[in-house]
Symmetry: C2
Subunit: 484 residues, 2 copies
Amino acid sequence: MSKPKTAITPTRADDFPEWYQQVIKAADMAENSPVRGCMIIKPYGYAVWENMQRVFDDMIKELGVQNAYFPLLIPLEFISREAQHVEGFAKECAVVTHHRLEKGPDGKLQPAPAAKLEEPFVIRPTSETIIGDAMSRWIQSYRDLPLKLNQWCNVMRWEMRTRMFLRTSEFLWQEGHNAFETAEGAREDALKMLDAYADFAENTLALPVIKGEKTADERFPGAIMTYTIEAMMQDGKALQAGTSHDLGHNFAKSIGIKFQGRDGSEQYAHTTSWGISTRLIGAMIMAHGDDDGMIMPPRIAPHHVVVIPIVRDDSNSAALTDYAQKLKARLKEKGVRVHVDDTDERTPNKMWSAIKRGVPIRVEIGGREMDEGTLTYIRRDIGKDSKKTVSVDEFVNSVQGVLDDMHKNIFEKAKATRDGSITDVASLKEVEEFYKANKFGFVRFDTKLLQDPSFEKMKSDYSLTTRCMPLADGGKTVIVGKAY
Amino acid sequence: MSKPKTAITPTRADDFPEWYQQVIKAADMAENSPVRGCMIIKPYGYAVWENMQRVFDDMIKELGVQNAYFPLLIPLEFISREAQHVEGFAKECAVVTHHRLEKGPDGKLQPAPAAKLEEPFVIRPTSETIIGDAMSRWIQSYRDLPLKLNQWCNVMRWEMRTRMFLRTSEFLWQEGHNAFETAEGAREDALKMLDAYADFAENTLALPVIKGEKTADERFPGAIMTYTIEAMMQDGKALQAGTSHDLGHNFAKSIGIKFQGRDGSEQYAHTTSWGISTRLIGAMIMAHGDDDGMIMPPRIAPHHVVVIPIVRDDSNSAALTDYAQKLKARLKEKGVRVHVDDTDERTPNKMWSAIKRGVPIRVEIGGREMDEGTLTYIRRDIGKDSKKTVSVDEFVNSVQGVLDDMHKNIFEKAKATRDGSITDVASLKEVEEFYKANKFGFVRFDTKLLQDPSFEKMKSDYSLTTRCMPLADGGKTVIVGKAY
């Protein structure tokens, strides 16, 4: 076998979708649950989400957003209010119809017929309507605006084909809902939240994204404009990583979010909504992972550093553990998240576990290191070639720089791949040739070509979608690709 | 009118339940939602929950607990597995029966008959069964134990009579689920989590609690032992503030949580579960609030300090705001959460708003203070008598001590009331006389009296419940009272 052995089977080149599932399994991040379409987020995966929440929550609070919590259940009458909205979500709603169980004739539990609800509820697929209803009570005057609300919660959209993190019936997200006095205020806000998402994706997750407008047919149901950040995965497919919607007057009118304006007249508010979800964890895996498993962006890594004491015999085991714990304490003071792997697993298993979980820096300490006051470390993004033995002092002082460099490195790598995989074309014929030949990445062309009636058939033939009209191009071009 | 005017009408003495609702409204913490039995937690109330989460989450992580996330929906087959468990929860389950909506003959949305689920789901009322199912896959050997999992999530129990924070159909909580090798391990853990709750209630929420065992009929459905922390509200009623359950073998056997023991034999795990919820916010309000509104325990107060610039004319408004912002920056460095109220509301309204919201320290600054480099502050728990003018430096250096003193003060006050309101009685006749005379607080008596058959009728006649058998008394006494 001349092929190098990898920790993950299959490799990305062999079967990217299956590689993705295997990385999640090997990193112990999540698993499918007995509830169809729903996943269990395991502790290591959930720790990533917690870190994401902390960073992004701080960002939105700086922007004047307040967290709150609204009911899980939404009355049917609410979801019906905005015509496009209900059209977009009714097909995938989990419906609550009863409020009690009882034993049926066969002795098995069943919904109690006497406890049938007069009006059923849906489990929120998103909360524009119920939060809008609260806003209609809370907003009286222009002085109450802007009002910026957010909730971190679970939502449910009944999906037929699911994939862990990327598309599950239940997922975790944040949904922001802001209201403004003017149309310009809402538009500016939608763009400001898009900027926050791009900042978060690039500077926290090391995920390069393209900011753009969605085409009309890809807009959020009920929005007058949807903005998106689009990322490219290592198989050349697009992943929508966050969206920000300018809802204009639509929800305000259908729900009745009115206020007394500066001139005393009654006016409708202009609202926005914006969301990112646990799907970002999937995006990170597919953007950064390699054939040995996950590569964690350092700024959200559950552990920045894993320390593996290499015990040769029992005689120095206690001293090594002590050495490791002291190192941990010093690093913790610097804000570095450290895990000391002092289980009784074999050393190679510990090393591979750290690799598969994508821990940014693996530290190995043995008797020699302990005697010399040094340690040996290896960066996950570079591997063996980065192996270095340095003094503990030097490591403690330089570790933040190493993490920052790793962030930069994996970002630049993903960006180079992405930038090199956008092909400019001048005609739809070239688009067809590109995807017929199974070429890698996105195509970009003049938005005028979107009017060509043959484009719809091409999208369907090659499973293409318009990803966005990049803001950087001023809406003159559109990016098209296959997508998750 | 000789009666002093209060910010809240009615007063506690006049109508405690209504006072409670009015405090929530005046502090802008929550409101009822259009979804029957569900509340909206408004930003100021949600900020309290966020602070609670941060503190308690750090505590449990120190105890080796890992956060994770499990599905919202639970298959009926799961909830049926543990006989007592299903008996306890089936009566109040929201049931999902369909996964799509469509327009009915009347043009209104209805659950699509073709999208009826073969097996309905319930929205989790608690997650012992679905987390236990995951544990049965994750635990293979004694080396995998203990396993300590927790999730912060929403749960739903269909309640007929609801009261904001205290009893709502949907509420937010944390539910911990731990598994152990031995019965002793589980018992110790249930007690350890009880200790963590008592520590959190007393040292973070300033809420004195009694740790105790529940009597058998008050146990969690499926538990072999339920421990509780019980608090007393200002109307003398009890409030169960947190529970920790030793589930023994029950769930492990019904779900199949097995492991290979040290001797190679197959054994069942011993599990615990433990939870606290947004109900604690209600407890805080009813334990600490006064006739002017909320009194926030400083350690979870959304704002420790509110700064009110007292603008006499427009000439010094900018300078005062600047003075306030500089003060805020200095306090923030010390970890103090500060809100500068620079809206254009009238000064008395700002003061009353801070009082009703229970902000621990109100700082007022006017032209004179600014000229002298001083500020005037008033403690919420003491009021006018605590008014003091000090230099900014002195305030910045002493503010943490003031907050700590306020914590101590409101804790001691609640504890004195509670301790003075537990009446020892020697017979059930005395119990009856106590509650017949509408006396205030709890009664405590020998657990042997629980065997008296007349006790059941008395409980029902006077709406009494056994609150707990205090651990401090070694199970020899029981505390009885009216309760929320």
